[in-house]
Symmetry: C2
Subunit: 546 residues, 2 copies
């Protein structure tokens, strides 16, 4: 059985067929009208395009370095200098913080270069087409541009930009490298602080109501994250600390050294060391340049400094541990008293602090303001508080802490002591001297004052350790004795230590030194909540990418 078909009435057109024909005719009419409109629009567009007075003033540049790109040789200015070009036409490379079309005749762009931002205006006129306005207002965020425009004083300050008194009236705008859409992370989100560690979840900024992006999201998109001004500032400061470190120590006669990072045997006990497959044998990554810088003192280098990576295979997932960080190390002979070295270390840090204030004041303020951090209280000129470990213990006890004379301090106790020192001495930076011998490395010189103490010291910023240092034993005999008596004992004849132990047999001067964690100096100077913020591509037990 088949279903009956629709009724048909011989050859006469059915009602339905008539309806269909009428519809078709109407469709064709509409189609023709649309075609006409489209044609008219196209002609209009073509006419407009032909009349686009700005046709050569905007667009995308061909890839620089390719055959299509023709250099202009045009002078390009720095955005930071823009104020000195008032009423002049300038060209500069910059990138788009954001772009918006205000109307068919007006678009605004926020342009950035380094830490500077400026407002740019694209206004249609006889010499600037609406097409160009549309193009400019629709450029994707983070695209790289080459812009030419007239620098004009603004009628009133532009609060959204760092350059408040000038804006750029764009004459030409070319995209040099277009940013894909969407960005995996918004740079403006990267400008805001981390969410509090307490939750670890995404949360909103109390002030702005905007989302606070987690550290993981930022680090997974680090090349976008690093574009944030706050990050630019952090790493400008970090490079600055190195420069200041070298400048000061260079002026004091220190030789910059490069000690090996690949070691044939694990030094300093062998715990927390990364193993490397070295051809057909095993090697290890240096946990510090300690042995080498001392061996160089034995080689009569007198004063050495090193800036280099330090590797710690410690499974610590805290806000202040990294598996790879930058060590600022130094070691020097002294004449009669290891306090000579401590004085130099204190002077060095005061020099660095002063340099950070004068040369990197803007960057410092930018970062601290985002995290609402107190200024760093500097000691009165030339008087870094230097307190003995025993005094520190006494201050902590007075504050209610229970601890024994030779106990190591816990992190909370260190932070508390930092607060007590700040109250008493008005300084966020201080030195703790004469640590108990038992809690220091085996090569630490025992104290002349008591065999239970040692000629060793730590330095603190905001109550957190930035340096550990000491006078080292420079006599092979004493070193061997201490190694054998150490807990656990260390064999002075062992392959890992023999070259080190033996280097003191041939007339080694008394010496002391220390190692700073560069990231810690930056972190505590700025008051950042996590050490990872001070490493370009941080490494921890969970992260070794990107």
């Amino acid at each position: 059985m088949t279903e009956p078909g629709p009724a048909t009435e011989g050859n006469a057109p059915s009602k339905n067929a008539l309806k269909k024909a009428a519809k078709d005719a109407e469709k064709a009419k509409k189609k023709e009208a649309a075609r006409q409109r489209e044609l008219a629009e196209r002609q209009k567009r073509e006419a407009e395009d032909a009349a686009d007075v700005s046709a050569n003033d905007y667009g995308e540049l061909p890839l620089i370095g390719s055959a299509e790109f023709k250099p202009t040789g045009e002078k390009r200015i720095k955005l930071s200098e823009v104020a000195s070009y008032a009423d002049q036409t300038v060209t500069l490379r910059c990138w788009v913080e954001n772009a918006r079309v205000q109307s068919a005749k007006l678009a605004f762009l926020n342009l950035r270069q380094e830490l500077e931002t400026v407002q740019a205006v694209v206004a249609a006129s006889e010499s600037l087409s609406k097409q160009m306005v549309k193009f400019a207002g629709n450029i994707s965020t983070e695209s790289l541009l080459v812009v030419t425009g007239l620098v004009k004083k603004t009628p009133e300050p532009v609060n959204s930009a760092t350059v408040k008194d000038y804006e750029i009236h764009i004459k030409r705008v070319f995209i040099e490298a277009k940013a894909e859409v969407p960005l995996p992370l918004q740079v403006e989100d990267a400008e805001r602080p981390l969410p509090s560690e307490a939750t670890g979840e995404e949360e909103n900024d109390e002030e702005s109501g905007h989302p606070l992006v987690t550290l993981n999201t930022r680090l997974n998109n680090r090349t976008i994250d690093l574009r944030a001004k706050i990050n630019n500032a952090i790493f400008t400061i970090k490079g600055g600390v190195c420069a200041l470190f070298q400048e000061f120590l260079g002026s004091k006669g220190f030789t910059l050294i490069h000690s090996p990072k690949l070691l044939g045997a694990p030094s300093e006990g062998g715990a927390n060391v990364f193993e490397v497959k070295y051809f057909d044998r095993q090697a290890y990554l240096a946990q510090s340049p300690q042995f080498y810088k001392q061996m160089l003192i034995a080689s009569r280098f007198q004063r050495v400094m090193e800036i280099g990576p330090v590797f710690r295979a410690e499974n610590s997932n805290t806000a202040r541990h990294l598996t790879e960080f930058t060590g600022l190390d130094l070691e020097m002979e002294f004449q009669e008293d290891y306090h000579e070295v401590m004085s130099l270390l204190e002077e060095l840090m005061l020099f660095i602090f002063a340099g950070l204030q004068t040369r990197y004041g803007r960057e410092t303020e930018l970062v601290r303001s985002r995290y609402h951090v107190e200024p760093f209280a500097l000691p009165a000129a030339g008087s870094v508080p230097r307190i003995t470990f025993a005094e520190g213990i006494a201050m902590l006890r007075e504050a209610g802490e229970e601890l024994n004379d030779y106990d190591d301090l816990s992190t909370p106790q260190e932070k508390l002591l930092g607060k007590l020192v700040l109250q008493k001495y008005g300084s966020d930076f201080y030195t703790l001297d004469q640590f108990p011998l038992a809690i220091r490395p085996f090569y630490t010189m025992p104290s002349a004052a008591s065999p239970k103490l040692s000629n060793s010291y730590d330095m603190f910023m905001r109550g957190q350790e930035i340096l550990s240092g000491a006078q080292r034993i420079h006599s092979t005999r004493l070193l061997q004795e201490k190694m054998r008596a150490f807990d656990p004992p260390i064999d002075p004849e062992g392959a890992a230590v023999k070259d080190y132990v033996d280097c003191f047999r041939y007339g080694c001067p008394p010496h002391a030194g220390g190692g700073f964690g560069l990231e810690r100096i930056v972190c505590f100077w700025l008051g950042l909540p996590n050490i990872r913020l001070t490493s370009l591509f941080p490494r921890d037990p969970q992260r070794v990418m990107p």
Copy 2:
């Protein structure tokens, strides 16, 4: 049966017995005389000792830092300043190059501090005992001293010392750290050049007839070896190159960065990379900061520099390869033409050469004189020879070499080209530009001039490569294309490269850069025969200790 005894004559003493008694008496007399003499001598010695006017002026100091050591607070001078203390009494720390007793009343010491040596005289007088002369003249070589003495003009120049016009008339001499005897290597032997590579065996110096110590012996006793002035000079220069590199680039707005050395995946192909056990997974040591410095350019850092270790698991046992060396890296955006970067690199090297001449002229001369090396021919001001690879090929062909247009140069061809360039342009430093694309890394920008060429360059000193650099591809699309077409192809989605490839999606400026081998700059500046001489503790496939 018993043997008959000697004949006896009743109680009367025998002849023999009489003889014996006489002998015994004589013996006793002699013994008594000896005892008397000994007593007299001892009394004399004791008297002399008691009268040792110098008893408090010489001896061994207790270990500094121990309870027994009492600081004096005495000012100590630098040996380099000694001429300004003529006719004054000075105190200084120095060490013994050699000491010799000339007579019971006179001893000489050659004392050293840094690169300076001075002659010291210990002459017995009413106020300086013969015991002190004996003590001083017998101090073991390399012992560390604290010496007090009168600075006196010498009647004629002392040729054996660097301080020729002054000597020190010692008043007090204390051993601060005694050197054990014998030394495993004589420092004076370490001052002489290496034996020629041809033999590799110990051979004698043609000039002095003294043994030339092999590199292995030196490196096995590196902390003694490094005491040689030649080594002190080499590493002063090495630190100086770093300082000059940073000084110049710092003034040009470069940010000092620290890229990670631990990588989650082997970059750049995965060959010659060291594997690291990273907790429960695998990591790799960075073969260069290449990807990271480019990622930072994509992060808008504009200009970055890095000084850090570079690890190459290459089983090359040559005089110019190390498995760990120091990379001087830089990367920068440019405006329109990668030659902007080449010009900056050339300017940088001219700045470094000028700095080496003015600040480290003495060290340079010291080292070159030992190895009989020609001075380094510097290009005329501002005109570093910059020749294209094609020109280089043409010069080599003219000199009789057979090679094709796109062949890579062999090491001997590079050296020959260096000679040809020196002849033609009078410079030991030059740049080779526009290398064939096929022999450069996949991320190299192809040339606008020809698809078979690339915007890449090497720099040479004395005909040996010190830098390799290029404009890099800053477009993800082009990079992916080139990676897929590379031989062997590289997957742009691979874990090792994905973050890198993706960083160019969001508006990366055109950029170029390069990486210097610090040790090579030092090696070729000084004309040393082996790169290991420029590494404090060199690493090669055979050596990872000390």
